[in-house]
Subunit: 288 residues, 4 copies
Amino acid sequence: MNEHRYTLTLSCPDRVGIVAAVSGFVAQHGGFIVEASYHTDQETQRFFMRQEIRANSLPFDAAELRARFAPLAEQFRMSWQVSDSAVKKRVVLLVSKQDHCLNDLLHRWRSGELEVEIPCVISNHEDLRSFVEWHGIPFHCVAMPNNNEQSKTAAFAEIARQFDASRGDVMVLARFMQIVPPDLCTRYAGRLINIHHSFLPSFAGAKPYHQAYHRGVKLIGATCHYVSDELDAGPIIEQDTMRIDHGDTVEDMVRYGKDIEKAVLARGLRYHVEDRVLICGNKTIVFR
Amino acid sequence: MNEHRYTLTLSCPDRVGIVAAVSGFVAQHGGFIVEASYHTDQETQRFFMRQEIRANSLPFDAAELRARFAPLAEQFRMSWQVSDSAVKKRVVLLVSKQDHCLNDLLHRWRSGELEVEIPCVISNHEDLRSFVEWHGIPFHCVAMPNNNEQSKTAAFAEIARQFDASRGDVMVLARFMQIVPPDLCTRYAGRLINIHHSFLPSFAGAKPYHQAYHRGVKLIGATCHYVSDELDAGPIIEQDTMRIDHGDTVEDMVRYGKDIEKAVLARGLRYHVEDRVLICGNKTIVFR
Amino acid sequence: MNEHRYTLTLSCPDRVGIVAAVSGFVAQHGGFIVEASYHTDQETQRFFMRQEIRANSLPFDAAELRARFAPLAEQFRMSWQVSDSAVKKRVVLLVSKQDHCLNDLLHRWRSGELEVEIPCVISNHEDLRSFVEWHGIPFHCVAMPNNNEQSKTAAFAEIARQFDASRGDVMVLARFMQIVPPDLCTRYAGRLINIHHSFLPSFAGAKPYHQAYHRGVKLIGATCHYVSDELDAGPIIEQDTMRIDHGDTVEDMVRYGKDIEKAVLARGLRYHVEDRVLICGNKTIVFR
Amino acid sequence: MNEHRYTLTLSCPDRVGIVAAVSGFVAQHGGFIVEASYHTDQETQRFFMRQEIRANSLPFDAAELRARFAPLAEQFRMSWQVSDSAVKKRVVLLVSKQDHCLNDLLHRWRSGELEVEIPCVISNHEDLRSFVEWHGIPFHCVAMPNNNEQSKTAAFAEIARQFDASRGDVMVLARFMQIVPPDLCTRYAGRLINIHHSFLPSFAGAKPYHQAYHRGVKLIGATCHYVSDELDAGPIIEQDTMRIDHGDTVEDMVRYGKDIEKAVLARGLRYHVEDRVLICGNKTIVFR
């Protein structure tokens, strides 16, 4: 898990010979491919690819790899990037008062399971300061007054400023109970991850467990997705469900639901930071 | 499984002493309770109960049991019924051309797993006649011309006539690709079961797998529900989901989906014929 | 969830009239039964029962309830107990260095989801002291030298002493990597809960993920069980599995497995502290 | 699904450049790769690969593809094969009296979901003749007298003769309740598939549901595996589990278990006939 690797991800119009060209390029420099995945989207005929290469099998570093790969990428008209496992992604967590996702992610981080930097945690409440600071992570409280749109705009501007200041790669709404304004959704497209407590597209919006209770469904779920400017409608990264029955109250669903929420968010975030998620329109390709 | 039993199901306004009164009544006649389940709906404060009683532990038959229980039921203002395992439910199956649910249900029937009578199978196509008749079950074809509302009305009237003529207890839409008219939905409320190929309320209506594909969900599902006059919105009996990924086409989903559809329908139908499902508004209590 | 309730659990030889007698007794005092479950074990013909009664529906307290119930219990030769939701169970946690189960249980405790007292955490290492103490919970380190049976015996005697001193109701081996001596297993029978990182009975003993890897199974699992004097062979409370594939290394299994381990232990422990688990020989009845 | 494709599967010692060489070879002839999967086994450092190539993208047929690929295979010391989707695998089914797997597989076959030939069904009982023959498939009954080893040997010799005579590619023990003699296991290694009604390695051998019941497990399972000369110990292709509880009798487990057995066998067999399963020692790589 801790081996030094480069991860190449790319997409381009599909045609014969892409895999041959890319793996030929890698092989020509002695590169050892540890993991490789491909997919062609049927609707757009676009090809997607991910390769993990053992860093010490190549005679040069990531910058040189990028420089040498660029002409080939140009030739196939690729969108592409090379990430370096030695450079950890910087993940900023946003929370309100509920802390089950925060507790789960911080544990994965401090146990070394989730290999990221967490430059700070931002909240609209003070409640979780002590727990976050015990981890040695800065905690910023940005008040988010209800029913005051002007203050909310200012608060989100402050959140964006802090995210940028901490050179964040991805912002995670870990049960942050506020709706992100459309301009930030656009600005951080593909870098803003939310966990919604229903199996979308069912029960978008507020109080999904209440909605589920009233509809009488036999399973509840959770959805990890990129935030877009349409509420709970962005590209889905990961989902899961669990069985309930008629005896379960809304409170029971809330309690059980926490376990799916944190598991789904943890998986979705891991796929993202390991560059396993490629966005294709409003869908995702997840190379697990 | 084949022991002779009476199943008492009831609902009434909740209050102290219902269980004591009912189980006292049963015990007083030496009745041996094999299985018992209770539930109080929080919103309506209505109490629901199901008890299976060993028939030969009682000194009288089902008719006498009903007669003796009536006063107590009256006292608690119960909706109630006693069913007798020796009297099998009569299940009429409706199919079109897809036969995975039919094949599954007929196998469960002929192997003795599903203890019902199947007086006939009705279809709007001839395709499945030979397979049904191999089982010794009458097959009725009722043509269902597209784009002709008058003929459709006549066809459904004929279906209802055949259902009634075969003294059907429950009609199962086993992937019957036609929308049942509202008057029949009302007439057979609680006796008309459908399998929908999505995890409702997501993707109601036509082509749910196409809808699922375009939304990019990571799980597909199926829902067994009672039919109401609102399309795909009746009380849900059973649901399940399974994992798919970006590599799965609509055709793959259709194929995988068949396995959930038949499993969910088989479970839902079994719960119904074993009197395990009690309807409470637009929700169900399922005493598994 | 926080309503004041009494929970009556009992078992006795099966016969006609037990439910009627017990629910008659409860009803006679105006007791409101919130939840009720029954089971008869086919092999032993022993009857098991659990009832939750709303405390304020009874005109007396738990002690009086016990006193009044005793004659009826005597008559049916019941093993029985009444627990009071106002008296929280005292749970002592034992850990080594791995903290995923500890982190999960402490979060459930501090969020109020798991309604217990945690008088102390005991470990054979110092590593988790700071995290436990942040919660305001005493942390006791009891060294457990390898290859020194005499010291081990003394260490376990010290653990038992601390458990008794903290008036523990149940001891949880939350990935405590030491084998409890047989005399303690016997002494705390039914009060000593372990989480084993395999789907028992497969892969009992050491390094279950290595065993699973070498056998090439396609699912891994976890088992929460009462500890008996035979290793990993006590009554099973809860289990679950998850899918892996050929690409997963032992390290991957260890990582994925943590998520099942903590979920299975949390469920199993909750069933125990809510008096939902009744032991029948080497099996459990779990009234969920 | 019905597109004409060649599937190349291979394994060889791992080294740099295998993917580049193979995909270069395919690209050089204009071959369009539809699906590609790779894996390196950590213990043996052996590389495994599967590629599906669109047949009409190549300027030659399968025979020519094999001839041209052979030198490259030689160079990398590959075990390899090219299969042609136009040449369907020939699957011989063995059954006793239980027909849930047979019913499921025949339905998948007649609906076109499982694209194979079924030259015949062989049984040691006459019970299923009519059902099989309704499908137009020859049914051979080979008596298998209990307690007569000599007759059993003769019976298995007859089964092998019929399998060979029908040019079978794979023999499926679809709940065939007889133990295949070691010499046949060896002779048909990798071509003999069994469904066992437990989550192996738990409960190998006879009456696994009885074993599960007595151990008090909370999940039951099924395992599809290649038969080896050690009973229920061959390479596992696919497994699954489902939840049961204390209320379920052995008969309930048998009934629920049928649903997992048929699902697991159907998936395992599909992986096999689509050349998705590569054997590595006593484990499998399954390129789903």
